[in-house]
């Protein structure tokens, strides 16, 4: 460990603001890169399902005639 106290760890001789901002942004971007594909996947499955249901409904009148 390089730091004697928790406040020294957060302050980092005045560079703390820069370091924590950089690490925070990294966390946000990495999380967004995980979250966004999960959201996209869910949307694709939803639209595919509704398209399939629509296809079934439009087929039904043809079957009756």
């Amino acid at each position: 460990m390089r730091f004697e106290s928790l406040s020294a760890f957060f302050y980092m001789d005045g560079h703390g603001v820069y370091i924590w901002a950089a690490y925070g942004l990294t966390l946000v971007i990495l999380a967004a890169n995980l979250w966004w594909p999960m959201l996209a996947r869910r949307n694709i499955i939803r639209t595919a399902k509704s398209a399939m249901l629509k296809g079934m409904n439009s087929q039904r009148p043809e079957d009756q005639s």
């Binding site: 980092m12 001789d13 560079h15 820069y18 950089a22 690490y23 942004l25 890169n33 594909p37």
Partner: protein, 156 residues
Amino acid sequence: MLNWFHRLGSPKIFFEISGRWQVPLLLLSVLMLTGGAAWALLFVPPDYQQGHSVRIMYIHVPAAILAQSGYVMMAGAAAVFLIWRIKLADVAVKCIAPLGASITFLALVTGAIWGKPTWGTWWVWDARLTSTLVLFFLYIGVIALRSAMERQAGSR
């Protein structure tokens, strides 16, 4: 070998394999990222010139390397798709573009944050910084072009 490679290019087989590997690889990357971050924040000594800001380098440099190699990867996949028409290569191009753009953005912003305490300025128009900014615009261009083409294909 070539047969194996062709099998991997089939979307169905790729989907099965990648689904199986997803969780172990995610856990491994979380473990390595936390380990690396703990090392960079807690154990690395301050640099004799940069002081504690050197800790930003442990994310800035990998981000910049990934930003550049992502573009090479995208170019390689695009070439594979254009020459051999392997559909999965086009999927790879589509997936790399937003990832590369976000990582390039990260490299640019962490570089600016590092530059302020080290150089005394957020930005200079030198060759490396400018070319990385151009790389970011290239990624944005790829994303915009693809979304425009997809919209056109959908309206037909």
